[in-house]
Amino acid sequence: MPAGTVRVNKPRVGNGLHACLRGFPAAVIEVATGGVVADSNGKLESLLGREIIGYPFAELLDVTSQAKWTRLLSRDPGSTESSLFECVVQRRGTLELRTFAAVWGNDSGEERLWLLEYSRDLRLEPLYEELGAANSELVQIQRELAKERSRLAQALGVQQSAVRLRDQVLAIVAHDLRGPLDRILASAALLREESLDSGSREKLLELIARTAAGMNVMVRDLVDAASIDAGRLAIDRREVEVPALVNATAEMFRLQAEAKGLALTCSTATTVSVLADQARVLQVMGNLLANAIRLTAGGGRITLAAEAAGDNVVFSVADTGPGIGADDIPHLFERFWQAQRRHRGGAGLGLAIAKGIVEAHGGRIWVESEVGSGSTFYFTVPVTPMATGG
């Protein structure tokens, strides 16, 4: 037994309650097994205006509650589970509802039933409704906040990687524009030499023009990428004949391909026309074709094709180049993806721009490739609506 605890032999009546229960704000009653009130903290007495210790508790109740009381008393006193006892007590001629928690307990070897007044106020129910409504609102707020937090975290991540990418791109652009610019400046300086013969002069001017044209393409790509980003890429749709479009693209690149020892062939199995911006579709095919020529080794083959499929024409550019790893394919059309790689051939905007142009036409672009067995890029452009009727 812990120090300071004193065993008290409790008298039958009037002294059984622990001191702390005397100050309890609601009624606490100790009932002996026979149903006689053994002790009380006085709260029920003040409510009822009468003595209760030493009286049968049933005497305080109305008839129906007396029946319930008898059932409660006859329950197994060994049970330690509490139950709720709702009853009507007679108070100065009127009746009142009271709820008690009823607990059996052993007090110095004697079974006792303890009644603890549980709830005075049956008007709590409407308050619970209010509480429920308030809770519902809180739940909604919490869910919206959690969603917002996760959105912000994602946006922050996107922004951080965008900032990183932009820094890389600035470095690349600075490098890629600096090279040709240096060549132009050097050529211009050489042109000042009075001793230069007219043939050399001609060559230098040619070099300046070609280099500036290359820079022009890079600047155009940057502007296009920015337009696509802002969703304001201008598309001037007209009816364009597919075979002519494919052949024109092939002719533009034929010399370049032959110079590298590549066989460039066209296959157009369709005569339909598409509703498209001819210059833009040429730009897409040109980007794909230039990549294919750049990456395919001499002796290889490049095939340009177009065929009708439902409401679309599927254009394709196939090469026998090194192919693309499966890990890279999902990122291929992301802007500056190439910029993150060590071996790159350009600012890394070409495929992203191609995707932007194709999507602005309402088409889609994809690639099928395996390392070692070449790549085929596909893109679709919707056919002219008139033509679908035929």
Binding site: S136, Q142, K147, A153
Partner: protein, 214 residues
């Protein structure tokens, strides 16, 4: 495995032990219990048992409310943990309770299970006026609406909500699924209130919508 967690959780609820109940949830999650299992095999049966205890006068209405509130807190914490982790699948759900429901835990479970699968589920909670619901449906064009009623006095309002949505959307009305106790024992009731489908619990609702919009 879930049975011992359920016993522990129910014991904590019965004792009104909020911290203890949340500790059980944390431990169960750490032990690898999935969110769906936690919802359907721990929370749901525990709350059902609490409801029976109240019906049988073993616990007071306050204790019942506390048990519900503790479970709401547990769900809020879980939601904060997984919200935004799923890859969006483009599907949207609006979920609302009829009238001033207190028994909205099941509907939140439906939302959470679908959000885990990539749905954009918006939980509108209780006491959503008809015209507000219709406005939301028109502006957000959800694929589906989930509505719940836990007691039959809320059914007329549920039916009115469905009618309002159908009147405003016509042929293009979203798929409407209902749940709640009045529907459990009567297959035909869902049709009578104008719903497209009925679910017995949160997992059935999630399964139904998953299959419908596969």
């Amino acid at each position: 495995m879930s049975e011992s967690w359920r016993a522990a959780y129910l014991a904590a609820l019965r004792a009104g032990d909020r911290r203890g109940a949340l500790a059980v949830v944390d431990a169960a999650r750490a032990d690898g219990l999935s969110l769906a299992t936690l919802y359907l095999e721990v929370f749901q049966p525990s709350l059902r048992e609490i409801g029976l205890l109240w019906q049988d006068n073993k616990i007071s209405v306050a204790e019942e409310h506390l048990a519900t509130a503790v479970t709401q807190i547990a769900m809020a914490r879980l939601y904060d943990g997984f919200c935004g982790t799923a890859v969006p699948n483009g599907r949207t759900l609006l979920a609302a309770c009829a009238a001033t429901e207190r028994h909205e835990v099941g509907l939140r479970m439906v939302c959470d299970l679908l959000e885990l699968e990539g749905w954009d589920a918006r939980y509108l909670g209780a006491a959503v006026p008809e015209d507000a619901l219709v406005g939301m449906v028109l502006s957000r064009q959800p694929d589906a609406i989930a509505l719940s009623a836990s007691i039959s006095p809320h059914l007329p309002q549920l039916r009115a909500m469905i009618r309002a949505v159908r009147a405003a959307c016509g042929e293009r009305a979203p798929f409407i699924i209902v749940g709640g106790r009045p529907f459990l024992e009567d297959e035909a009731l869902a049709e009578r209130v104008g719903a497209d489908a009925m679910a017995r619990d949160a997992s059935e609702a999630a399964r139904c919508l998953r299959e419908r919009f596969a």
